[in-house]
């Protein structure tokens, strides 16, 4: 992730724009990326301080400083460092400093630093230089670069371009997006990511179009334009990029004076979909596996549908259950411990006439009672402690299937 000072932006009135790399700049940017990567590669096995020093000595024109620093930061983000000291520095310091204090307290003459270090070095079987080196070997600058998972120069530039947008979103107080996906998988990946980051969102179908409008922020943004949710918004951006077509508008607080600015971004599916986000989460994969072990007329599979109630909102179920004989469908949305407000929103949708049968699985940490939804609705809450149990889900699926939906009344 980049910090705001490493982002190349320009202001146009009340708008902020990321300045993309121009075609003419790209070869030089690739050179800088290659230099940063080569420098990191050359320092594997050496202290961080040596790498930082070497980078400080790389000649870069003032106009390129920000780009170069950003690329170096992203290259550095791929590195793994650890302490390389053979002598325990904390223990060494304790010995040297207590003996030094004792010597100084008793000494009448000059403090004999060298004599003391030589004596301790001798007793440890090392030379004084090794002792001096080990004294603060646990400081970050002394940490040894063990491994770097370095991309290609072009790969680093791709990372840089995404990181520019993410760094802007770090200063976002709320985000409005319109997304269009050819399949429900894209939507599910997006909404799962939003839930994962515990962001609050409202979604609405876009008129006669196929996409959805989403407003994303956190509970406190009602009172104060806070950038507290900025990191989560930035981390959710890759999921947005996985949609086939999308655009977003973010309200920012930019700069030291937190000036209110707007930021627009749009794109198509230029970024490969995040497979890990589309694949079922571990929790749902475990539930599916448990369901397959149960004897039941209901067959469970990942859901493709988006359940939409115009004017109220939409929800994105995780699984659908199809009755093997009647073909009846019941959905399951796992809300987990995401947001209590989201549970109330679902209840509101059910009460407003959601036409599908659905079970909402909610962690007990959200402190919602299953009785909140009455027996006269085609929906049920399943409050679970730690693990989703297939049998318990099937019981509720069976229960809601027997109730009339607004369409079937």
């Amino acid at each position: 992730m980049l910090t705001a000072d490493l982002v190349h932006v320009r202001r146009r009135g009340d708008r902020l724009q990321v300045v993309p790399l121009a075609d003419a700049e790209r070869p030089r940017a690739r050179e800088l990326a290659a230099s940063a990567l080569a420098l990191v590669h050359a320092h594997v096995g050496l202290p961080r301080g040596a790498l930082l020093q070497a980078w400080a000595e790389v000649a870069v024109a003032p106009s390129e400083t920000r780009l170069a620093r950003a690329l170096f930061k992203l290259a550095l983000d791929t590195c793994e460092f650890d302490e390389g000291a053979a002598i325990d520095p904390v223990e060494l310091r304790r010995e040297i400093f207590t003996r030094s204090a004792s010597l100084r307290r008793s000494g009448v003459g000059e403090f004999a630093r060298t004599d003391l270090l030589q004596e301790i070095a001798r007793s440890r079987g090392v030379d004084v230089d090794a002792l001096e080196e080990a004294l603060y070997a646990d400081l970050p600058t002394a940490h040894i670069l063990r491994k770097a998972d370095l991309p290609s120069p072009d790969g680093l530039l791709t990372t840089y371009e995404l990181a520019q947008h993410q760094a802007v979103l770090l200063r976002a107080v709320r985000l409005h997006a319109r997304v269009f996906c050819a399949s429900a998988a894209g939507y599910r990946a997006l909404f799962r990511k939003l839930k994962f980051h515990r962001l609050l969102y409202t979604i609405e179908k876009l008129g006669r179009e196929t996409g959805y409008a989403i407003d994303i922020d956190g509970p406190f943004s009602l009172f104060e334009q806070t950038t507290k949710y900025g990191l989560k918004l930035a981390l959710a951006l890759p999921a947005l990029l996985g949609c086939d077509t999308w655009d977003l508008t973010a309200d920012l607080r930019w700069g030291k004076d937190r000036r209110p600015l707007r930021y627009h971004l749009r794109g198509g599916a230029t970024t490969p979909e995040d497979e890990s986000a589309v694949a079922p989460t571990d929790e749902i994969a475990a539930l599916l596996s448990d369901l397959r072990r149960q004897e039941s007329p209901w067959q469970a599979s990942p859901a493709d549908a988006i359940l939409d109630l115009p004017g109220i909102g939409a929800c994105v179920p995780d699984l659908e259950f199809v009755h093997r004989e009647t073909g009846q469908r019941v959905y399951l949305e796992v809300l987990g411990f995401w947001s209590r407000a989201a549970v109330w929103k679902r209840i509101e949708m059910v009460e407003a006439g959601l036409p599908q049968s659905i079970v909402f699985a909610v962690s007990k940490h959200l402190r919602v009672s299953e009785e909140v939804l009455g027996d006269d609705t085609p929906a049920a809450l399943y409050v679970y402690a730690r693990t989703l149990h297939g049998r318990a889900v099937l019981d509720r699926v069976e229960a809601v299937a027997g109730r009339p939906t607004p369409n079937r009344k």
């Binding site: 003032p62 400093f97 307290r105 403090f111 004294l135 603060y136 406190f220 009602l222 402190r367 009672s369």
Partner: protein, 467 residues
């Protein structure tokens, strides 16, 4: 009806207060409800009224005034199971401070100099209110110190949130950083919150931590509430007004150690002077040509931005750093520190610097322990313990020991370098002022004569404690 009884009731049961992510939801009332506090507004997203958690007490009082019955699921704090088991005799000003806080409806800031015993005022406040309490401090050192103090007074398990720990008990200590991160979950679990060194609180993020907390009772402690950014009035909103104040000079002698401050001016050698003047002229010339005034509020940030744009600017920035380095770490200063360490070898000396690099330079040169933000908590504790016991006669530090940390044995401070901040300079003096038998504290301030450091020194000494 117990809290467990009401937990699972839904909004259909009437008016329900809930704590949600740093806010208080008021479910069951229509959007147009009048009589609620100004910060309580309708939230379309969850179809309920919502207020920042810090408005909780006002919401409750408003509902009571309107005689609207409600279920309170928001408040999740308890009455303490046991009162304080150890009682230290308070000094008269500590009793007066507590009385002033109580008279202000248990909300407000107590201003006392370092070493005057602010912690005891907080212990007395906790004992008076008997509510689950969260203590928020600026550093992990202080977390540890508060933890030990509360355990000794209340003889119960004390929670810690921060520095890798996450253990919540009715008495819990955390840092401002952790409070900002976790208050949206923890903000309902404490009835009293104590903000130690509360001049930190008005920062944008930290303030949010205070707003996410519903504690009706709030106590701020500081020696120096004023901030250079002028945000100190926000303390009024987040904690309450200043309810009690005493300055160093009012307590020195009787309740604090008597002290003297010694300003020592050292000279640069001819070569150092030539290099200093050369570097300074490069830096000054750039400022003049760019029309930047370093005295202005945006002076330094303008300098950073504009110096990064050209090669001349980058050279000017390097010159700026070098001339500071020459003034801050002049060899004559190091020689003087050596002399003072020898002179005070039977005392307990803290050497303060402006930056970590100088701390490690001192540590390596004089073989004394260093404490910076890189020092792990276990090693910090061991160093401070060694210092208290006399295993170490001196420690070097930059800013992490500026405030709060209680080292009664320290009686000599050497300020080798520092900022122009009056607060920092007063806090550094405060580190050696805790009362001890026949203790006389001395603070040495080393300044390189004929450099910009002389002006910095004048600025930071602009306090009654240095007159």
């Amino acid at each position: 009806m117990t809290a467990a009884d009401i937990r699972d009731e839904g909004p259909a049961s009437g008016v329900v207060l809930r704590f949600v992510a740093g806010t208080v939801e008021v479910a069951g009332l229509p959007a147009q409800t009048v009589g609620l506090p100004a910060g309580c507004v309708w939230d379309e997203r969850s179809a309920c009224l919502r207020a920042p958690a810090c408005r909780y007490a006002e919401v409750v009082l408003a509902l009571r005034a309107m005689k609207i019955p409600y279920l309170d699921e928001a408040r999740r704090y308890d009455t303490l199971a046991t009162p304080a088991l150890a009682h230290r005799e308070p000094r008269p000003y500590q009793t007066a401070a507590l009385a002033a806080w109580k008279a202000a409806n248990f909300r407000g800031v107590v201003v006392l100099p370092t070493g005057a015993g602010k912690t005891l005022v907080a212990h007395m406040a906790i004992d008076d209110r008997q509510r689950s309490t969260l203590v928020v401090t600026p550093t992990l050192d202080l977390v540890r110190q508060w933890h030990d103090g509360l355990r000794a007074t209340f003889a119960t398990k004390i929670g810690i949130v921060g520095g890798g720990d996450y253990e919540v008990h009715p008495l819990t200590v955390t840092t401002y950083d952790s409070a900002y991160l976790h208050m949206e979950h923890l903000g309902c679990r404490f009835g009293l919150v104590v903000f130690d060194e509360c001049h930190h609180l008005p920062g944008e993020s930290y303030a949010l931590g205070a707003r996410f907390c519903l504690a009706p009772f709030r106590l701020g402690l500081t020696a120096t509430p004023e901030r250079t950014d002028g945000r100190d009035p926000i303390l009024d909103e987040l904690i309450g007004p200043i309810v009690y104040r005493k300055d160093i000079v009012e307590l020195a002698g009787e309740y604090l150690s008597s002290y003297e401050t010694v300003r020592v001016s050292v000279d640069l050698s001819t070569e150092e002077r030539a290099e200093y003047e050369c570097e300074r002229s490069i830096y000054r010339q750039f400022l003049a040509e760019s029309g930047i005034s370093m005295a202005g509020p945006r002076g330094f940030s303008d300098f950073i931005i504009r110096s990064s744009r050209t090669e001349e600017g980058q050279r000017a920035f390097a010159a700026y750093r070098r001339q500071r380095e020459i003034a801050f770490t002049a060899p004559a200063k190091l020689d003087y520190v050596e002399r003072l360490l020898h002179q005070h070898r039977a005392d307990r000396t803290i050497v303060f610097t402006q930056d970590n690099a100088t701390v490690y330079l001192l540590s390596r040169k004089f073989l004394i322990p260093a404490i910076t933000h890189h020092t792990r908590v276990s090693e910090r504790s061991a160093i401070l313990q060694g210092f208290i016991q006399g295993d170490y006669a001196a420690i070097a530090t930059s800013k992490v020991l500026n405030e709060g940390v209680d080292i009664p044995e320290a009686n000599v401070a050497i300020v080798m370098s520092g900022s122009g901040s009056v607060r920092e300079h007063v806090q550094r003096l405060g580190r050696i002022l805790r009362k001890g038998e026949d203790k006389r504290a001395v603070l040495y301030e080393l300044v390189t004569g004929g450099t910009s450091e002389s002006m910095t020194s004048m600025r930071r000494r602009d306090h009654v404690a240095y007159r």
